[in-house]
Amino acid sequence: LEQLRVRIRERGRQTGLESEGPVDLASRDPLELAQANELAERMRTTLSEIDPRQSQVFCLTQLEGLSYDEVAAELGLTVNHVGVLLNRARTTLKERLAAFAPSQARENKREVQP
């Protein structure tokens, strides 16, 4: 996560704020904003709890937009291993986030769990 923060800061310096475009928070539904904040908070907590390698791969590919090759080079892994770790990370994250899902998906998760 610390690596991610450093990368985001660096990206901000390179691209400048204006390239991101203005974020009009006032136009967004407060409930929607609250849900997004809560989801983000849960995601942040979960990423700090799961296997660090899976977390790193997920952050670099999904948040940073790095390719499998770049992540493999960054972390000293094979490309296949990056794919496996990412898949595991996604599975774990979905399980942990299931409480936020619509009831049908949540029930389904309960059924498959031992």
Binding site: L31, A34, E41, R44, L93, K94, N108
Partner: protein, 288 residues
């Protein structure tokens, strides 16, 4: 829109990833506030219907539903208590001589504005503003939601102040808001013991304190107690407290009415649906 559970979870993960990527970190509410909110929900739900309480409470949609349920329950309590309090003031002819003019002044009152605080157990408080003028009423949880009702026109709305949505409330629907006919309610209440018990300072001003025992409100079944602080200059109540001393403090509901302002000119807009609100019927409002 995704339909299968797996697709829903994929969509959820995508939203969570997007939220983390685009959003700012939030510390969220203090843990103490979260704990007290959940405890409050448990208490309310134990008195109404059984709602599962647990980790799912973090889901905002359900939390919002519970909040609305609390508000409805609270407004019903508040209306019942206000009616009971003022019915006693209106119709009790057995008051002390000093209290007779208070009763007369209350009868003449054209409007009332006050703050209602409901304390559930120790340290959990829900606060709302209340406005009454003629046959109109407004109950408001500041910045969150409000109810407006016109007893003459027989219209009532629930206002979601955050989403700017007004939901119609069937005026005669039982269990929704339970807005009683004040006059009928006034006639039912017959407290039989009122006395002057002393003097106290309220907001730096001396007031006379009256106590009414054996008040019948909600589940108190004649065991309730009401205290009324009266400003001797205006001869109008400045504070009211409704309590049930026979119930353990950790489970007791206490209602306090403060910041009472009599005969203040209230803006008509307080009792109306704001022009920029979307009006939905009860059926529309329950649809996703």
């Amino acid at each position: 829109m995704n339909n299968t559970p797996d697709e829903q979870l994929d969509d959820l993960l995508a939203r969570a990833t997007g939220a983390l990527r685009d959003g700012q970190p939030s510390d969220g509410p203090p843990p103490e506030l979260m704990a007290s909110t959940i405890e409050r929900m448990r208490l309310v739900d134990s008195q109404s219907t059984t709602i599962p309480v647990g980790p799912d409470l973090v889901r905002l949609a359900e939390r919002r539903k519970l909040m609305f349920r609390i508000a409805r329950y609270s407004s019903a309590i508040a209306v019942a208590i206000v009616v009971a309090v003022f019915s006693w003031l209106f119709f009790n002819d057995q008051g002390t001589p000093a209290f007779a003019s208070v009763i007369e002044n209350v009868k003449k009152a054209e409007s009332i504005m006050l703050t209602n605080k409901q304390t559930i157990g120790i340290g959990r408080t829900l606060e709302m503003k209340m406005y009454f003028e003629g046959k109109k009423m407004r109950l408001e949880f500041p910045g969150v939601m409000a109810y407006v009702a016109d007893f003459e026109a027989k219209t009532a709305y629930e206002l979601d102040l955050t989403k700017k949505v007004a939901r119609t409330i069937p005026f005669d629907a039982a269990g929704v808001m339970q807005m009683p006919n004040p006059v009928e309610q006034f006639r039912k209440v017959k407290p039989d013991d009122a006395r002057l018990i002393g003097e106290e300072e309220i907001d730096g001003r001396k007031s006379q304190l009256f106590q009414v025992d054996k008040v019948d409100f909600l589940d108190a079944k004649g065991q309730g107690q009401m205290k009324i602080w009266v400003d001797p200059k205006t001869e109008l109540p400045v504070k009211l407290l409704v309590d049930n001393p026979n119930v353990d403090r950790s489970k007791r509901t206490t209602l306090t009415f403060t910041d009472i302002e009599w005969n203040k000119e209230l803006d008509d807009s307080l009792f109306q649906v704001p022009a920029d609100f979307t009006i939905k019927t009860a059926q529309q409002a329950t649809q996703p």
